[in-house]
């Protein structure tokens, strides 16, 4: 600020600064929310956290078994928050050939005396294997309603595509089971 500037001009500049900074504040508030889609996009791009397109349903896959290669697929189940649930895979691991479809079945049992809606959330380790795990059928695509004490057999049909990086010898597919009864009731309402 030089001596030549009068108070009126100073006032104008102050108001301008205030507006600029207020705008920056609002923009940064928006940026906080923009980080949500940005993060999801980044996760899909990099396979970070085992989350990407591979976690979604694949309508049809071309089977081209690569019999020369064998990969171990391990299955993990976790019940969130120590709920009264039984949740486990039929086999804890299996050897698969990339390019071939396999089916593994999971058992879930609601041990409560009330109806519950469950949702399994998958994760794949290592992260770089995530987009090569294709699923044509999975209970994790939908919320699963359980009556009191009901037990269900739930199949997963999956394939590792042949592009799976050569240094991956073991892929872990983990499911965490959440009680989403409240969430399901909310979304049952229109636009909920």
């Amino acid at each position: 600020m030089s001596a030549a500037i009068g108070p009126a001009e100073t006032g104008r500049r102050k108001r301008r600064s205030v507006w600029e900074l207020a705008l920056l504040t609002v923009a940064m508030f928006g940026f906080g929310f923009a980080m949500v889609p940005l993060y999801n996009a980044l996760c899909e791009l990099t396979g970070l956290n085992g989350r990407d397109k591979g976690m979604q349903i694949v309508a049809s896959v071309q089977e081209q078994p690569d019999l020369s290669r064998e990969v171990t697929v391990q299955f993990l189940t976790v019940v969130n928050g120590g709920r009264e649930w039984l949740f486990k895979p039929a086999v804890s691991e299996m050897k698969v050939h990339p390019g071939q479809l396999y089916t593994v079945s999971f058992t879930a049992e609601n041990q409560l005396d009330q109806d519950v809606v469950g949702q399994a959330v998958p994760a794949v380790t290592p992260g770089k294997a995530a987009k090569h795990l294709k699923k044509t059928e999975c209970f994790c695509f939908n919320q699963q309603p359980f009556k009191a004490r009901e037990a269900k057999n739930m199949p997963v049909r999956f394939m590792l595509d042949p592009e799976l990086p050569a240094d991956v010898h073991t892929v872990t597919l983990s499911y965490t089971f959440f009680d989403v009864t409240e969430l399901a009731q909310r979304s049952a309402k229109p636009n909920g």
């Binding site: 108070p7 102050k14 207020a22 920056l24 940064m28 999801n40 969430l183």
Partner: protein
């Protein structure tokens, strides 16, 4: 506008502040508000300090003694929130209120009413936050970082926590906008940007960090609120969200936040050391550039708080190296402080002692920070007392020592009374000894594997915990010397006159006005010369 402004200034010359309590409630004077901010921060430091004593009492012995684990976790959570948002940040804002206008030759801050509003939000915000201590379900206990899904299990305290954070955020943003607008538009003629005192520079950059990051925190806690009450799934895995996302958003705010807590301290120390070394600050320009680079780097290192959440190797490496890079500008600063003292005519008054304590102990805290930056070893140190020792070293003998130093340094200017030097020195030595007694053993505890945020521990950790608890209680008690010394400065008998230039080696506009500083200073901006002081004493730009 021009005429009205001139009139206002004229009127103010004739009446001082209002009388009674309404003076403080309605005040728009930057000095009054600075005092309010500092007193408020002091009360919060006291409350937060009591909480830390509950923690240290419980940790005096292994096993559960005084409080149940849930309440213990409330104490760690609330201690952090109160100390960060109620203690350190308002104390720095108070110092900015008092000193920034006086240092750049402005009559007041640019937005005095906003300033009043920004301050008076704080007591309400903290009334909300502290009221949760008396609620069914207790105060928030999930840690000050508010990670979901844990924080979503908070009971009635949850919405109070969120809205309190919103209020504190609004308060700091208004304060920051005020500081930026003032510094950019109201500097006295001749006070060019690169002539500004470093305290003003560091606050300018701090204010930008605040404006850029507090809204992000507000967004993050808003998402927590809608996740809990309105069925959204930003961070709820069962609804397709990701709890790790919260950590990214939180630390995008949280890492610049730690520089918000330390940059003004750099400014204070860069002001005090030249005064008592009786030499100009070594490498002024490099100090400015170092501060700016720290401000920039603070935005690209956030995930070093999350090395153990399962990031890809490339990300771990990026955040490790970018974090280590911060040591370069910080090293420049420490080097400059030491070089300023080199062959200076040093004396060791209380502010200088605290500033030197800062340089030494903050650097120690910086070194443990470098250790934590190394990803592979961070897996070992994560969530242990080593982390607790690290951030307390940079925050207590770092930020808090600088605040104490600043108050000793400027209080003769504020009140026109000199503090008691003997008591000041006693206060410094007790503080310096006991703060090390408190936190130094925690390095060893952390390296040996003691976790943070747990009220019980393995019996093998007992000895160091006993030492640490004794240190904490003694440090707390030592601060009563400070309170006594400050109260006598504020209300004591005025014996002898304090000169305008309280310290013979002090330079800057604030030392050209009377002590105590009149209620209104620099109503007519001075003309600032090359040395950062008025061209001729009492000469204003208008007269020129």
């Amino acid at each position: 506008m021009a005429h009205a402004h001139a009139h206002e200034g004229h009127d103010h010359d004739h009446h001082g502040p209002d009388k009674g309590i309404m003076r403080w409630i309605k005040t728009t004077n930057h000095k009054d508000l600075g005092t309010l901010y500092l007193c408020f921060a002091f009360i919060m430091f006291f409350i937060g300090g009591l909480m830390s004593l509950v923690i240290r009492a419980e940790l005096f012995q292994p096993g559960l003694q005084f409080v149940d684990p849930e309440f213990f976790n409330s104490m760690t959570t609330m201690h952090a929130l109160v100390m960060i948002f109620g203690g350190v940040m308002p104390a720095f804002t108070g110092l900015a209120n008092w000193m920034v206008p006086m240092m750049i030759g402005a009559g007041d801050l640019a937005l005095p009413r906003v300033n009043n509003w920004g301050f008076w939000i704080l007591p309400f915000g903290f009334a909300m936050l502290l009221s949760t201590l008396f609620m069914p379900g207790g105060a928030p206990a999930g840690g000050w970082t508010m990670y979901p899904p844990l924080v979503l299990q908070t009971g009635n305290a949850f919405p109070m926590l969120i809205f309190a954070v919103h209020l504190l955020g609004i308060s700091s943003i208004t304060g920051a906008i005020n500081v930026v607008v003032t510094i950019l538009n109201m500097r006295a003629p001749g006070m060019t940007l690169l002539k500004m005192p470093l305290f003003v520079w560091t606050w300018l950059i701090t204010a930008y960090l605040l404006i850029a990051t507090m809204p992000v925190l507000a967004g993050a806690v808003t998402m927590l609120l809608t996740d809990k009450y309105f069925g959204t799934s930003f961070f709820t895995a069962s609804g397709g969200g990701d709890p790790v996302l919260f950590q990214h958003i939180f630390w995008f705010f949280g890492h610049p936040e730690v520089y918000i807590l330390i940059l003004p301290a750099f400014g204070i120390v860069s002001t005090i050391i030249p005064t008592f070394a009786r030499k100009p600050l070594f490498g002024y320009a490099s100090m400015v550039y170092a501060t700016a680079s720290i401000g920039f780097l603070s935005f690209i290192v956030w995930a070093h708080h999350m090395f153990t959440v399962g990031m890809p190797l490339a990300a771990e490496l990026f955040f490790m190296f970018s974090t280590m890079l911060i040591a370069v500008p910080t090293g420049v600063k420490v080097f400059n402080w030491v070089a300023t003292m080199w062959r200076g005519s040093m004396t060791f008054e209380t502010p200088m002692l605290f500033a030197l304590g800062f340089v030494f102990l903050f650097t120690l805290g910086g070194f443990s920070g470098l250790m934590l930056a190394v990803t592979p070893v961070d897996f070992q140190y994560h969530d242990t007392y080593f982390v607790v020792a690290h951030f307390h070293y940079v925050l207590v003998p770092g930020a808090v020592f600088s605040i104490i130093a600043a108050i000793y340094y400027w209080i003769p200017k504020w009140t026109g009374r000199m503090y008691n030097e003997k008591l000041g020195k006693l206060h410094f030595w007790l503080s310096a000894i006991f703060i090390n007694l408190t936190f130094f053993p925690q390095h060893f505890l952390g390296l040996a594997g003691m976790q943070r945020r747990v009220p019980d521990y393995n019996v093998m950790f007992t000895d160091f915990n006993v030492v640490s608890s004794i240190g904490a209680f003694a440090f707390f008690i030592s601060q009563f010397i400070f309170i006594g010394n400050m109260l006598s400065c504020m209300f004591g008998k005025r014996d002898g006159k304090v000169p305008e230039r309280v310290w013979e080696g002090a330079h800057g506009l604030e030392w050209t006005v009377a002590s105590p500083a009149p209620y209104h200073t620099f109503e007519d901006p001075p003309l600032v010369g090359d040395n950062g002081e008025p061209v001729a004493a009492g000469q204003t730009a208008k007269a020129h």
